[in-house]
């Protein structure tokens, strides 16, 4: 029931929007749909009693071994909650953007949501793959139609890059199915026991897709351009939810199918991730455009997420999953603020801003509260996640933990430097500018509240992922 609702509510609303094209009420309708999905997700969370809940288990095409199995475990539910929670904010961001054809924009967003729910609900690897690829298509059109400069070439690069990963994943999955003759259900994945030398190469066939989606160094070259060119809502979808697909896929598929491959490549992946995190942090410091800065900061955060996951111990994996949630909330706030400033100043170049605090003290305060989460100050959500990952990496090797700390310090530097350039300094604005409006408050205050509440009391989320993580750890070599 829950799975059906989650797949159908956004899908049907999106189709309605496509067909009816109600320009006036498009955003309202989309918002209602996303709130309904959120309610369903919260009901699922409230009634969740542990274990894996399977909601449908049917053969699709029995002759070819295609199966339709949907359900969720703790980690899946966390991702569903994340998707459900994020989309009202993404759609809400559209009120400030005023893009052309709002019905089409919202339809594409809702299609994305439906497919993302599909990704996190799928309990069969081929079904997972199908939703994984499908979620790319609405985003492709979002970027192509409403993107900024050079969008045509950047969009196609993004599409091809992601599909490269997707097809490699398909190849890896087909190889697993062909070799073992299993039906591809997640419940059967951990019992595969492929030979060790197969696992070593198969790891990259499977992981490449997620490494590109996340993205980690050196598969990241599509990311900054795409994030910058995409319309605000597209960037939100990409950074807040879609990159979590990479994390989820790694956790759910790569770790389960090729545990020995993970063990073999662990140091390589951690090294790449941390190199990427530091490297992106340094580049972020040099950015003058705020959207580009957020793109590189996201890249830096993701590197840390991936390193935490591959630390392969309780702290590291739990922290990584927790931080995935925190990062989504954080990046929504940052991007929204960027949009709000751009709306007032007319550009996202930080050189054009400066001294805004005098004109809009409330917005500056909200900005600072969001930043507090970005730099992982204690009592915020990011602190919990980053501390856990830090502890996980420390257990693996002290130097890794030191490198992770460098990225956190870098994060604090570039974030506050950005704040300084945008908000502080002499008041150079002749015109009257309006301070944070009711809409800005409605948007940012809930995000900040989530950050603080889950920063002080992270147990609900940690409980959710604990059992699946323990299960996974017991299967790792």
């Amino acid at each position: 029931m829950i799975a059906a609702l989650l797949l159908l509510i956004p899908f049907i609303t999106a189709t309605l929007l496509m067909v009816m094209r109600p320009t006036q009420h498009a955003r309202w309708l989309a918002m209602m749909s996303s709130l309904a999905s959120l309610a369903v997700v919260l009901v699922a969370w409230a009634t969740y009693g542990g274990g894996t809940v399977i909601q449908a288990d049917n053969d699709w095409v029995p002759a070819w071994g295609l199966r339709f199995v949907v359900g969720y475990d703790g980690v899946g539910l966390l991702m569903l909650v994340l998707t459900g929670l994020v989309f009202p904010f993404i759609i809400g961001a559209g009120y400030g953007e005023k893009l052309q054809h709002p019905s089409l924009v919202n339809a594409l967003l809702l299609y994305t949501q439906a497919f993302l729910f599909g990704v996190f609900l799928a309990q069969n690897i081929l079904l997972f793959y199908i939703f994984y690829e499908l979620s790319l298509i609405p985003v492709f059109f979002l970027l192509l139609y409403w993107g900024g400069e050079h969008r045509r070439s950047i969009t196609v690069r993004f599409f091809i890059y992601t599909l490269l990963g997707g097809l490699s994943l398909l190849f890896g999955l087909l190889y697993c199915l062909g070799q073992t003759g299993m039906n591809g259900d997640f419940s059967a994945l951990s019992g595969l026991n492929l030979p060790a030398d197969t696992q070593i190469w198969l790891f990259w066939a499977l992981f490449l897709a997620f490494a590109i989606k996340l993205p980690i160094f050196p598969f990241h070259s599509w990311q900054p351009d795409t994030y910058t060119t995409a319309p605000l809502q597209g960037t939100m979808v990409l950074s807040a939810v879609m990159l979590k697909m990479g994390l989820y896929g790694t956790f759910k598929i790569v770790f389960a199918v090729v545990p020995e491959g993970v063990e073999y490549w662990r140091w390589t992946v951690i090294a790449l991730s941390l190199i990427g995190a530091v490297y992106a942090g340094i580049i972020a410091f040099r950015q003058t455009d705020m959207k580009r800065l957020i793109a590189y900061s996201s890249l830096s955060h993701v590197g840390l997420l991936c390193a935490g996951l591959f630390a392969g111990n309780n702290y590291g994996i739990t922290g990584s999953l927790y931080q995935a949630f925190a990062h989504a909330v954080l990046v929504l706030g940052l991007l929204y603020l960027m949009g709000a400033l751009k709306e007032r100043v007319g550009s996202s170049e930080m050189g054009a801003m400066g001294g805004l605090k005098v004109r809009m003290p409330r917005l500056a305060a909200l900005f600072l509260l969001v930043l507090v989460n970005a730099v992982a100050l204690p009592l915020t959500q990011s602190f919990v996640g980053e501390w856990l990952m830090f502890a996980g990496l420390w257990q693996v090797d002290g130097w890794l933990a030191a490198l992770a700390v460098v990225t956190i310090v870098l994060g604090a530097i570039y974030m506050f430097y950005a704040f300084q350039r945008a908000m502080l300094g002499p008041d150079k604005w002749k015109l009257e500018m309006h301070d944070a409006t009711l809409r800005d408050h409605l948007y940012l205050v809930p995000l900040i509240a989530i950050t603080l509440v889950l920063g002080v009391h992270p147990a609900p989320v940690l409980d959710l992922v604990d059992a699946p993580v323990q299960l996974l750890l017991s299967a790792l070599p």
Binding site: L66, I130, E133, L144, Y145, V156, I160, F171, Q179
Partner: protein, 454 residues
Amino acid sequence: MSALILISVLGVVLLYLGFGNNRRLLAPVSIAGLLGALALFTTGWHIENALVLKDLVRFDGFAMAFNRSLILVTVLLFLFGIDYYARMKENVAEQYALMLFSLVGALLLTSFNNLLLLFLAIEILSIPLYVLAGGKRDSFRSGEAAFKYFLQGAFASGFLLLGITLIYGASASFDLPTVQAFAATAQGNVLFLLGLFFTLAGLAFKVAAVPFHFWSPDVYEGAPTLVTAFMSTVVKMASFAAFYRFIEHMQLPGQVHTMLVVMTVFTLFLGNIVALRQSQFKRLMAYSSIAHTGFLLLAFLGTSDRTSGVLHYYLTTYALATVGLFVVLTLAKRAANGDENIRIFRGLFRSAPWLAIATMLLLLSLAGIPLTAGFIAKYRVFALGISTGFVAVTAFAVVMALVGVYYYVTVIREAFTPTADAPQLVVAPLNWLVISFCGVAVVLLGLLPGLIGG
């Protein structure tokens, strides 16, 4: 058998109708006849191993499935033909009749049980096509296409005939099961080996596999669009069915198998890579057709009882997507005064949104994106390749599928790029019907792949 006779007679009837200037009747009569044939194939004829004509023809489940798809695709093409030939002054009846005769060849190709009949069927299929390719008599390029196709086709027929002769020399039989049984004992028989090489080369020409593909871009570009669509769907499907028929139960000698692997790799590579550089839509479709030949050849590398089902599914869905796209091309080409560059699609979404969405679905299906039939088709081919042990070739095919996505997406990007002077398309209701049918079919078959050939 009666269906074959029906279609042949139908062709003759159409020629007579052509004398009487009953142009309005042509398409309805031929479509009605085809539907009759389809009914004959669907109802009383589904008999396993029904050997007819002194064992020359075998109408088994495989042939029946292909024949139904072939007739269905031809019906779609004829529906499109009503509008397409409406502007043609004379000789319309001949066009329909020739296509029907060619279809008879195609139907025989799927069901031959004797190597002589294979040759006959290929000739019956090809000779009307040589004429059809030159259908625009005042067009230089159409004439060029016909001439090229004829010369190279004749060359390939020679190859095929030589191959059949050599096989006969080795095995002393034209009967397909006998030849296939002989193959198991023919290790190191040079005569037989050469025979296989030449026969497969002749068939490879028909499916446009590298290095026998040179005709296809020029002929596709020069021939009238409807004929191009016919060639890339009906002819391709039938030729692949024949290809499968021929090597179905045959234990291929190692050298021939290596040739097949090399051919697959080169076809995949060349089709996809060259397609990247095309700006003319018809040439793009020609190279995409070569690329799809590569994916289909992948299914032939190993032996599995699933191969026939995979082929049928792949070819049917490929044909549906291709027919729809050629109809869209014709409409866009008219609006752009005969230009065939992919730029003519620019702004399609603005001027005809539903047409653009249907085009997108068809292109996504060719590219193999999930929830379209093309994805399931590619999935099955890859799964087959891996399960029969050709992991490296499959990995290469996967990479090439990615390259393929690029050029299809380029066309989608054109269709969805806003422009000030969007093409003003005039869509006749019947064309609408054909495009929607193809668009719905590729999605429906993607969601419920069990609908055909389960």
